[in-house]
Symmetry: C2
Subunit: 482 residues, 2 copies
């Protein structure tokens, strides 16, 4: 058996054990490592650079829409959590507490932030006096901690990285508009930049954020049919304003509570990216979010090597100057075949091969990681061709993920039908729901699936609840979720 | 008294009380706010954006020199601190401890990282096996916590933001080269980007980083003559490699300890920026690090207002497209005079005034925040002129800060002379030192000044120790420091 084949064999096939496949891929692609602290991972450069690309793109979108970045403290006094009843119930079970510092016991315990609603609420109450101070549009990039019982790299870790936007507005209408604007920024980002199609909708009351009036989400389907909540946007009403006393003098000189929102995405998007696009050969990154978009591999015998490498270096310089994220692997101690597998496993979207015959013909070969498609292109049109092929791959990956989602999206009428489907193969289920917590709970107990959201757009409106058979108030997407 | 004058009066003059001046400026320029957690501040957008500009610039320099970003856990197990003796002694008194999480007492206490040497040492031991894994060049942008007794916004806060580079090398020579490379990147950044001249040198043993073999620093002089350590770079030798077992098979197949380095700058640079350039009118930012580089203020009577604002909007669009960080203030409820003071107080380096007469002449007026210089320039040469003036201001601010430092830099021969100088006016002192901890300690006790560093370049070499009068081993810079 060749070395190349052995190498690929180290990744468990998806069909055999999806969970093991996931861990194999992230370890072999060098994205992360386990740390000695339970549930906390190390983001290695190959993984962290994916997050940096996401950050850069999202940050620009936030700034275009008038938001500014700030930074709030890591520590939150215990008393702050008591102020919003639902919030404390939602987060208390997951908090780590600092009880001592610099050799002394603290008078009040300090939580490590699981989210900054309470700290920001406290500060906004100081900063907001008049309608002239509104809207207040702030975002924070930060680490947060939720002490999770079961953890999974990227998708559920005790410490993770995220951004949390927090805005305050004069009116409900404006705040709701903001909530929807940010949800749509997330949708566009996840679909266009990560090539991940999503279901956009509203969370049911039992699944909404602790303390929010309404929570909206985008939900993505992994290759095992399970869901990942890829982003959320919350309209808080005046809940946090009342809890933290965020009041302003309005245009009629009346004291009013501000309407607030919050919205966030996190490093769990890295997990979603892997599970939506990856395959048995390893990681598979859409070009826009790939730290390396193009890997160049000079090939051919030793006697022509110097010439080939010189030409490759020349093309490398051109590609780099054109803004392509390119790397060259001209090591001589690994075979081309080994390198092909290696960079496919690492998810580099495009490979360039150049050998002595290509030199003669003024050509190079481009190979798509996603589809395997080969294009022989002229060297003098290289930049154009690389850009076109990266664009094509980006779109193709979206289309393929969308087809997969559609193929694994079923409409059901009864709980039996749903149970059957969940047992055979996972996927998203569209079903009617009467609106009662009890029926939602039954679905979870019986099938392991939770309501993901009430989509804004559905192919059909279901007329009766899949559990109690009463009139359906909503048509809901259910799925098992990470 | 006019409103304008009253406004300016709210900042305490530097000559009256420098500390109060500092607090007045950062509050009025809206850079930060105090948080309810002792010693932890909120970085408001006006302050955080300064940090974002610093990050962007430094991050590019780190990447150009082959470093990649990663992210390591916030929590550090207590046992890790025990592994390097000097390190634990240096940091133990400042650590906050997580002792409970999710309702349960932890088996081992977790420190909030004061720096990540130990965690990274632990991980590097796993990652480094062979000389082929070296050099390992990693940087992290993160929050860190040191529970400080006395705090001062930006300059000394319990939680702060920083970057910490951690590298591992095959040889001492390479590691020392890296230590110096990063020190020089800091020097160039602080001098060119922040317009702050620095003294570059080596720390004395008593002032070096806990666990380092050698520590190097850049030291800046504030307007009250006190020093701020603006960046440090450490050669660790094999101290951390031995403590954490970072070993590799070298080119001769021998097991060796890696030589490691670390280097960092933090949000205290924001404090230095304020104290080096600020004046009685408020903040004064060098153009490269100013979130707003140019403020445009349309002036003139109501009847010509619409025309003037339309022209200003047109110029604004041109400036923005050219990459100038520009804002326009066309509010009608504040006078031009109020606005002039407001943006001077906020440290915006350049002001553009445009009124009806300028319209007629196809001109605008540019005014430097730093020098007060006015230039009348043609609208069709505006971008060029703005760029030139921003460049000039950037350089002028450096030159002025350099003159100030030189004027407040004295060479002394005796402790009496130094004591006298420190009592009259603060500043940096150049003096001979025999190399004994005792003499260094005496200087501190008698004058409140600490050794800042042993500069690489000095105007003169002192021949005898200012305390014991023995032969001087080093010529040292002493100063009171933040
Ligand atoms: Zn029902
Ligand atoms: Zn001495």
């Amino acid at each position: 058996m060749s070395k190349d084949k052995q190498f690929v064999k180290e990744i468990t096939p998806q069909g055999e054990d999806f969970s093991r496949w996931y861990i194999d891929v992230i370890k072999k692609a060098d994205l992360m490592d386990y740390s000695p602290v339970r549930g906390c991972i190390v983001f290695k450069p190959e993984g962290y650079e994916i997050w940096e690309l996401m950050q850069r793109e999202l940050d620009a979108k936030f700034k275009e829409t008038g938001h500014r970045n700030a930074y709030f403290p890591l520590f939150i006094p215990e008393s702050f959590f008591q102020k919003e009843k639902e919030h404390v119930e939602g987060f208390n079970p997951e908090l780590p507490w600092v009880t001592e510092a610099a050799g002394e016991k603290l008078e009040e315990r300090l939580a490590i932030r699981p989210t900054s609603e309470t700290m920001i609420g406290h500060m906004y109450a100081k900063w907001i006096q008049s309608y002239r101070d509104l809207p207040l549009l702030v975002n924070q990039w930060a680490n947060v901690v939720r002490w999770e019982k079961r953890t999974l790299p990227f998708l559920r870790t005790s410490e993770f990285l995220w951004q949390e936007g927090h805005t305050a507005h004069e009116t409900e209408e404006e705040a709701r508009e903001e909530t929807m604007r940010m949800l749509d920024i997330y949708r566009a980002f996840v679909e266009d930049f990560l090539s991940i199609p999503v279901i956009v909708g509203q969370k049911t009351p039992s699944e909404k954020f602790a303390g929010a009036r309404d929570t909206y989400s985008i939900e993505a389907m992994m290759k095992d049919g399970r869901a990942v909540q890829a982003g959320t946007s919350h309209y808080m009403g005046t809940n946090f304003a009342e809890a933290f006393d965020i009041k302003f003098l309005d245009r009629d000189n009346q004291l009013q509570f501000a309407h607030t929102t919050s919205w966030g995405v996190s490093t769990r998007l890295i997990g979603a990216l892997i599970m939506v696009h990856g395959d048995d050969r390893g990681l598979n990154l859409p070009p826009k979010v790939a730290p390396t978009q193009l890997i160049m591999i000079p090939i051919g015998p030793a006697k022509t090597r110097e010439q080939v490498v010189a030409k490759a270096d020349e093309l490398y310089a051109e590609l780099k100057a054109a803004g392509i994220r390119v790397r060259i692997d001209d090591r001589t101690d690994q075979s081309p075949g080994w390198k092909f597998n290696e960079y496919e496993m690492r998810g580099v979207p495009l490979r360039l091969e150049i050998g002595p015959r290509d030199m003669e013909n003024g050509q190079v070969v481009l190979v798509s990681r996603h589809s395997g498609e080969k294009r022989i292109v002229q060297q003098d049109r290289l930049i154009e061709e690389v850009r076109t092929m990266l664009d094509d791959i980006q779109k193709q990956m979206y289309e393929d993920a969308k087809s997969f989602m559609q193929d694994n999206f079923k409409s059901v009428d009864t709980l039996d039908e749903m149970r059957g489907m969940m047992e055979q193969k996972r996927g998203f289920v569209l079903a009617g729901w009467c609106g009662s917590d009890a029926c939602e709970h039954t679905v979870k107990e019986e099938t392991g699936a939770t309501s993901r959201n009430i989509p804004f757009e559905v192919s059909e409106h279901k007329s009766q609840c899949l559990v109690c058979e009463e009139n359906a108030k909503h048509t809901v997407v259910f799925a098992r979720a990470y």
